[in-house]
Every structure is written in C-alpha cells, then in structure tokens.
Symmetry: C2
Subunit: 334 residues, 2 copies
C-alpha cells in the first residue's frame, strides 16, 4: 500500500485553469491541516486559496511531500516542472504524482531521489504485489460507497460520512482506492492499477482487521453496471466485505460515462445486484442510503427529487454536498 | 495478445510424476498435430506418449517453439533446465513458459534469445497494454464457459464444443484466456494477469469482430461466486459479450477451491447472476446448457445425476468428457 509522509505542499505547476487543480482542491478541502501551502509557477492560472510558498519556505514549515496533483493535457509530467521537482528532491521532499506519466520519466530525478533517500510515488501505478483474497471475515465494521456509474461522488460521500462520524465521536477511517483519495488519506491503493487476480486481495489489505466498533469507510470505484470497469467494482466489493453500502448516483446523466450507447441502470436493480454480490463475503451486507449528486439542480428541484427517490426506495436519500451525511450515518447500526 | 509459432516440442524436464506434465498432456490431447514430440531429461517420470526427441531432432522435424508447460514445486524455472533452454535458443527455438518464475531469471537466456532473434514468452504475464473496453457490439457469435467454481472444466468444455462444431462444419475458434489454453490455441491472453482497469478491454480484443455465422468459444475463468477471483470473471463476461453461456460444474466439491469456508453456489443462482450480468453488454445472453465434471463417479451414477439436473433446470446437462459436446451444440442457434 502507498503511504505518504505528511504534511504536504501542493504543487499547482503551470495549471491552465482552476479545474486543472481539482485534485489539489480536494486535498485542501478535506485535509486543510495537512497542507502547509501551495506552490505555483509564474504562469499558473489556478489558486486553491492556500498561502503561496517557495520550496524552501514549505520545507521550513514542515512539509514532507510535494503533491503533483495537477492535471494537464496528456497526463504527462511537464518539462516546465522539471527544475522545481529536482530542487524539491534536493531539499529532501518526497514527491507524489497522480499523473499517467511516471515521475521517473524526468531525466535525473530518480537518481537524485535515490541519492537523497527520498521517495517518488506514482500513485496510479502499483509496483508491489498483493495476496490472493482469502475471503476470511475481518473484525470491525465496513461501509463501501458504490455507484450507478463512475465519477458520481463515491469518494466525496465516503469522506463526508467519515467527517460526520468523527464529529459524533465514532471511530472511523476513510480508505482510499483511487489517486485523489490516496493524497487525502495519505495512504491507500489505486485498485484499478492492480493485476486482476489480486483485486479482492488488495481490497482485503486496504481495510484490515480493526476494533469491533470501528468503521472503515471504503471509497468505491466504477459500477457493477459499467461495461468497462465492473470487474474492478466487483473485486473491491468482495474484498471490502461491507456491512453497509451507500449507493451514489447522478440523476442528470444521459448515459454511462465514456459509453454513449449505455444508459444508466435503475436504482433498484443497482441496489439488488450490489447487495446480492456483497453477501457472498458478508451475508449482513445491505444498502443504508443513497447519495445523490444534485449539483446541476436548483435547491427546490433537488429537494423534490430526493423526496421522490426516498418514497420510491424507502431509504434515506441525501446530497452530502448540500445536506451533509448526517442522515446516512443515522441509518447505520453504530 | 500472445502468439506462438507452431509446431511445438513439449519439454517435460525432470517432471517428478505424470501429474506434473498435465499441461503438456492437455496440449497433446487437443492439438496432437501441433506437437512434433516430447523432450525429457534423464530423471523425468512423466510420459505423454509422444515420440522422444532431442532438440536437434525436434528442430529438424520443424518445431518452432519449445513449450515449458511442466509444473514443479514453487513454479520456478529449474536450474536443471538451464542448459536445455540455452541450447534451444541457440538452435532458433522460441520458448514459451507457463511457470510463475520468469524465463528471464535464467542467467544469459534473455541476451542469447535477443542475439538469436527468438522470443521468450512468459504466458502468465502480460507486458502489453490493452484498451479500456468500449462495450461496442461486435459481429459474429460468442459462447463463454462460466463456472460455479474455478477448475471445473471451462477450458475442456470450450474445446469440446469447438471440436464438435468443426466436425459439423460450423466456423468456430477456441479463444484462450489462461495459460494451458494459450499453448493449445497458439495465441490468447491470461486475463487474470491484466491490470484490472483493462480486463473487459482485453476480453474485447480476445474475440474480435468476425463473420456473422462464426462462433468464438471463449474459455472462462473463475466464477462470479469465487471470493478471490470474481472480478476477473465479470470483466471477462462483459468483454466477451456472449450470446450463449455454458455453465460448468463439479458436483463433488465440499467448498470453493482454496476457500474452505465457502460453499458452492446453487446452480440456478449461478445461471441467474451470469445471465443478468451478461445482458449488460449483450441483451441476448442466455444459458444453453450445463457441463458437469462427473469424473469422480461411476457411469450409472453420473447419468442419474445428469438426468436429475436436467429435470431441475430444463437445460441439456452433459459431461463432455464422457458424452462429447453434441447436445450442447444442438442447443445453440447455429
């Protein structure tokens, strides 16, 4: 599993717009205490509202890892970043990247990091091996966010539930299965980067044995109804052994993400399939609520939709962004 | 996709018993015409009934690839094989291995192969990248063998159906998704070795567009009910877009393979889940029959069991080893 030294300095590079800094924005939103500042190149068009810092100042403020969480065309490590990244390593920073391109593609960076004893983390890739899943029941409680589709708020929902539980004094840990989640949690694994024989085994490693009243809040991936990624979703579901599922849904999609000819599944079919498959490794698995991304709707329209869906399903339906995750946590057997 | 030059010489090494040569045995059973002979070290205890040959003789007989399909403790490439494999490369053979250990672990072998221009195939590993599945419907017909568990006869059943179809003059191609299957087909991919994001995409590559009346007979892997491997099975199911499923079953297991506390799924639940998931990418997907491995039973007992199961399910139930695959092929919309 990837583990990052904290706190961070968030490197925004030469981000062409605010959206390119989405990952850094998510880190600053959920873990402001872990971010000493932002580092921007002269032509950077993004600003996530943290203090601007030089590498030296960030280091003096205690930052251990530089996060290159910025998106750019092609997902490569930009030439324009080279000097900054080399200098960061010289100053003793670890570097963590969520890009498709590997950090080791920067000439000299790997050697310099090796000489300095600092780590380069390409969080999209998995270089370590995992066990075959044993299916053995683990102690502690687990909740998994599942989806009708990709990118419907599964990470956001798991984090909102973690925040609500911690506010209530419930022992809870967010477990990251994707790159932004890993930056936020400081550890985790990109489950879609694992060799397929080991998906469920990696998911077992992600939420290990814990105290009986502790909740792991596992970030889901993809959807059992996504023709490209369902295998990842099923392995993560089996290995997570969830007691509780929260179904995440975007009501304003015409089709499955990336698949123009595939419509979205019905909510009840999605609940049924996830519960049925989840019960293989945890017979107690059940859906406790639905998290709906209503960001494209007015407040009134959103609340109407949530009420209608609640009547249809008999489950608490909330938009955690508007309303928080309180009613989802209320529905859990704490 | 892996592609092997044919014909083969089958290397049995220092196999400690007949069972260690199971893979070679499977190749010789299904593709006798592709095997010029067997090559055994002095202390080999296995014999698959092919002419014994030296490397030189096998080469003279036209063999292009040496298959190291023998199992040994730990799955490593044995020290005792080193001289033979080096010599094989010098004589111009490609080498294909189904072991866990990589051929490149043999000192000097990679360099020698590179100099000779011959290929080393570690078929358990996938070094090439595959596309994300598009879900786009492909032309041609597809049958996938699925299972209640691992190792219940999915490869055997797909091959038996291919043989029966070819006997009847139906256009049919066995598509290999595991190592022994790849040796038999001469091409294919180990779907459990693919990065999990690309499972369904790799399965799409495995059975490409074809003539409308051509059948791809795709070798299934694992089971949707196997807590370790179900993600592989689901990705393969989605990417294969099968028109027809044949469920493979071993009626004499106490528990799922490798999982002592997991019982086998009910046949009807297994059919239901596979059909329901299969219909995501091919709405016409349906189960046409059941292939039962009755090898642990007497003939009478086996036939009774098949008849009972046939009454329960309303589907043709056969043991392809005892009875051939004729009734399964009869059930297809040819």
């Amino acid at each position: 599993m990837i583990q990052l030294r904290q706190p961070y300095v968030l490197f925004l590079g030469d981000a062409p717009d605010q959206l390119a800094a989405k990952t850094a924005d998510g880190i600053a939103r959920w873990r402001p205490d872990l971010c000493v500042g932002q580092l921007r190149l002269p032509d950077c068009k993004a600003d996530i509202g943290l203090p601007d810092m030089t590498l030296e100042k960030a280091r003096a403020a205690g930052a251990q890892t530089l996060i290159a969480g910025v998106a750019n065309r092609g997902g490569i490590v930009s030439e324009a970043w080279r000097d900054t990244l080399l200098q960061a390593v010289d100053l003793g920073f670890d570097i963590a990247s969520g890009l498709h391109g590997r950090l080791s593609a920067i000439p000299g960076l790997k050697e310099r990091a090796s000489a300095q004893g600092t780590a380069l983390h390409d969080v999209r890739y998995s270089d370590r091996s995992f066990p075959i899943a044993s299916g053995a029941k683990r102690s502690g409680k687990r909740l998994l966010t599942v989806g009708t589709d990709c990118s419907v708020g599964k990470m956001f929902t798991a984090l909102a539930i973690e925040r609500e539980m911690q506010t209530r004094g419930v022992k809870a840990t967010f477990r990251a299965s994707g790159q932004t989640g890993i930056f936020i949690a400081g550890e985790g694994l990109c489950v879609d980067a694992i060799i397929s024989d080991f998906i469920a085994g990696a998911a077992e490693v992600l939420s290990p044995n814990n105290e009986a009243d502790h909740w792991d809040l596992v970030e889901g991936q993809g959807s059992l109804f996504h023709a490209s990624y369902a295998g990842v979703s099923l392995g993560l579901l089996h290995g997570s052994q969830p007691d509780a599922l929260v179904l995440c849904h975007d009501p304003d999609r015409d089709h499955m993400r990336g698949l123009p000819t595939y419509g979205l599944p019905a909510i009840d079919a999605c609940i049924r399939l996830n519960e049925s498959c989840g019960r293989l490794t945890n017979p107690a698995c059940r859906t406790v609520g639905i998290a709906v991304n209503t960001s494209k709707r007015s407040e009134d329209n959103a609340l109407d939709l949530l009420e209608t869906l609640e009547q249809q399903t008999g489950l608490p339906c909330v938009d955690p962004m508007r309303q928080g995750a309180g009613r989802l946590v209320d529905a859990l057997p704490l």
